[in-house]
Amino acid sequence: MSKHGDFGIGKSAVQIEAQEKVSGAAQYIADLYRPNMLFGAVLQSPHAHARILNYDVSSALSMPGVRAIVTGDDLQEHWRIGAFIKDEHALAKGKVRYVGEAVAAVAAESEAKARAAAAAIEVRYEELPAVLSPETALASDAAVIHEKASEYIKVFDTGTSGNLCSRTSFREGNVDQGWRDSDLIFEARYETQPQAHVSLEPCGALAEMDANGRVSLWSANQSVFRVQANVCESLGMPMARLRCLTPRIGAGFGNKMEPHVQPIAVLLAMKAKRPVKLILSREQDFEMVRARHPFQIRFKTGVKRDGTLVAREVEVLVDGGAFADDSPGVLGYALLMSCGPYRIRHAYCHGRLAYTNKMRFGAFRGFGVPQVTFAGETQIDEIADALGLDPIEFRLKNLKREGDSWLGGQPIDSNGLAECLDRVRKASGWTGKRRLPNGENSRRALGVSCSAHISGLLSTGAIIRLLEDGTVLLNTGSVDIGQGSNTVLSQICAEALRIPLDRVSIASPDTDGSPYNWGTTASRVTYMTGTSVLRAAAEVEQKIKDHAAEILECAPADLELIPGGLVAVKGISHRNISFAAVSGRAHWAAGGPIIGSHSWVFDQKTIDPKRASVIGLPFPQIGGFVFNAIVADVEIDESTGKCRVNRAWSACDVGRAINPQMVEGQIEGAFVQGLGFALFEELVWNGAQIANPSLMDYKIPTFVEAPSELHAIIVESKDPRGPYGAKSVGEIGINGVAAAITNAVNTALDVRLRRLPLTPQRVLTVILERELTAEAARAQ
């Protein structure tokens, strides 16, 4: 790994918030109090699909301690929100579209009173046929979930029609020619399941209106700006009237990027004219918010006998649930990434997203890529086996290399994937023989996968102020959800200005004062906001030099920043002046206080129309590619079918590790979350109802399921655009986990599993099939 900078870059600086987190002082949304505060509770829909005929809130209103009740009647029809299709209200209006949807809410003197009153609200419904799968949703006779869909504002040409929420297709080359050019064609169907985020902190919000009618809103969020936009659009409020702030956040993984109860909390606070805190229970967090999309995937790959990949076709059908939320983006992005990091001449990636009467599915780490990678990367292994090629060799033969571009033609600025593969191959002791020695009752093997992700999307900014005493205040609007962005951005700032980290303070994201940042999502904060920090720091540096030049009577170009908050004449370090002195001059004598700022939007085009054609592109500008290779050592207990990951190696090309320990933390955490996705996590629907909305019935990995050896390997390809060469790491570590684990299981058992999760039951079924086949063979 590269030598670390003098001040920040490459140092595993501890989290800025460390002391408060280990002492229990950290304040999350549920820990906040405002004077005279009320507590909110939500009434949920018992029906999957029904018209709301009327509400009777009279008995609820008369209950002790109840101060306000809100329903869809408090909203106007055109106050609709949605990241891509504006199809959703703050509370169900006119219709309910999934069991568990928020229908009404109460503010009362205590949470118990609010809950009791919510239960006493009477709502009359007229039930409608419930549409519970994408197939039934897209059938011609299906009940329509969004009758007014043609009126909804849409951010791109989604092709919305009936229950078809959106459709996307990418074409590069000519797949029909590709099949003709192929010696062998593989085609199979794959299926992945809904996964719940299970951030340890459930969603919640606290809203307070002041006497002037301005509202302050704290919430568990991944973007104060998305909260602001969503709340204001859903309540018909001017955005300048809402201030969104951020407590400590107990993780998100995508669940807190788009709204949950924030609009409801604001609506209650405005009606009650008192602050209202609304925290979801764990069950409500499972049932009311969002989850990872289940995918049905048809994957077809054509290959030459010598192992050259020729063509890939990917077709997906995605269940989006009752509201579009981020789903059109997930569909489009998953398709864009689906062919994998390989040189393929001909590609056709297309799919449809359907509305159903289930809880909306939305952003979850990986954003569709874990699902398509599961299919694509297990098929790669199947092809390698059929050709008699080692799976790593096969991948290396076809890998996108330095100078290649992604599907659609966007240049890949830096590419360390080959090194990632090489490092995990060596570290795992991978040989051609992937089977490891069997245990007494178990089989064991290694499995590999490759994947990619992005780092650059939409817009962000940074403001750096040199305070009177020469210390620095950094303000970026980016929310630290635990991944360490506050620390990393401060490290970048400190490095750029050559000052110790403790002279930089980072402001809490606040729509009143922070520059716009789309959000902590898409693994974008280091790359996007880090770039802004760097550029803002450059502006500060220039202004410091301009002042110092006047004081030291030289030209600004003769000056350089030297460590410790000083600016000096190049080569004559004792001729220097401190930041404090410069700042003093700026504040009191000339020029004005020093502020550096930068703002930008990622503008590299996703698609080069000369290379590829696309219909329904949700992200016209997305890029900054990162890469990952994983080898997993998986052992299967043949008496039960239970799989265990013993060891894993995950190498990520992150461009540059600004904070190596935090980068490892992302790789390790993503691996274990991916392990849950691969082996047992599944949000199950029993008809219209979620069967397991509780931590007793929905299980995530514990200390015991995590691998005994988990090796995070950092590869640095030094991106030319990223700040100090950095790209991203937030999501790349999860994309290939299920595929690597499945490849290991398939090798160990000599089967082809195509459906997630690999529950003990599914695995035992294939073990038994194999045992029966073997027995029948022996009998002959």
């Binding site: 987190k21 280990v22 229990g24 109090y33 400590r248 390790e668 995530i700």
Partner: protein
């Protein structure tokens, strides 16, 4: 209707009076009345561990303890253990080892680790994973937590 009785609790070594209805848990009382918010409500089912406190030195779920039934125990939350050398060693190890990200599980995790090291000062890795398996973490993947606990154990005087 909402009968609340007075209960005398020993929290972090101090005797405090709280009012609680019979159905109210220790978690509710320490968070809402005593304003000790380090213990978190992650599930209210005893499944996640974020509400972990110590009762007579043993890790328990405050979300499953009725407040009125807790007057005979010494309850410790992390706010009260800031001066304890074992806890400080653990906290330092967590900080330097990057053993938390969002931090929501961290108070419960530290208390569980503290209870482990109090009873078993030289745990093996398997001991650590077993003892902490009831505390869920969604961010870290557990590796750095295990390393921090083992590191703290090594740093403690024999």
């Amino acid at each position: 209707m909402n009968q609340r009785s007075v209960v005398t609790l020993t929290i972090n070594g101090a005797v405090v009076e709280a009012r609680a209805a019979a159905s109210q848990t220790l978690l509710t009382v320490i968070r809402d009345q005593l304003l000790l918010t380090s213990a978190k409500r992650g599930c209210d089912q005893g499944a996640c561990g974020a509400c972990t406190v110590l009762a007579d030195g043993r890790a328990v779920r405050s979300c499953l303890s009725l407040a009125l039934d807790c007057d005979d125990k010494r309850i410790d939350t992390i706010e009260g253990l800031g001066e304890d050398p074992t806890m400080q060693t653990l906290q330092r190890a967590f900080i330097s080892g990057g053993a938390f990200q969002c931090g929501f599980c961290t108070p419960g995790m530290l208390l569980a680790a503290f209870a482990l090291l109090t009873n078993n000062p030289r745990p093996s890795e398997a001991d650590v994973r077993y003892a902490l398996s009831g505390n869920l973490c969604r961010c870290t993947g557990y590796k750095k937590i295990v390393e921090a606990v083992l590191g703290a154990a090594r740093a403690l005087p024999r």
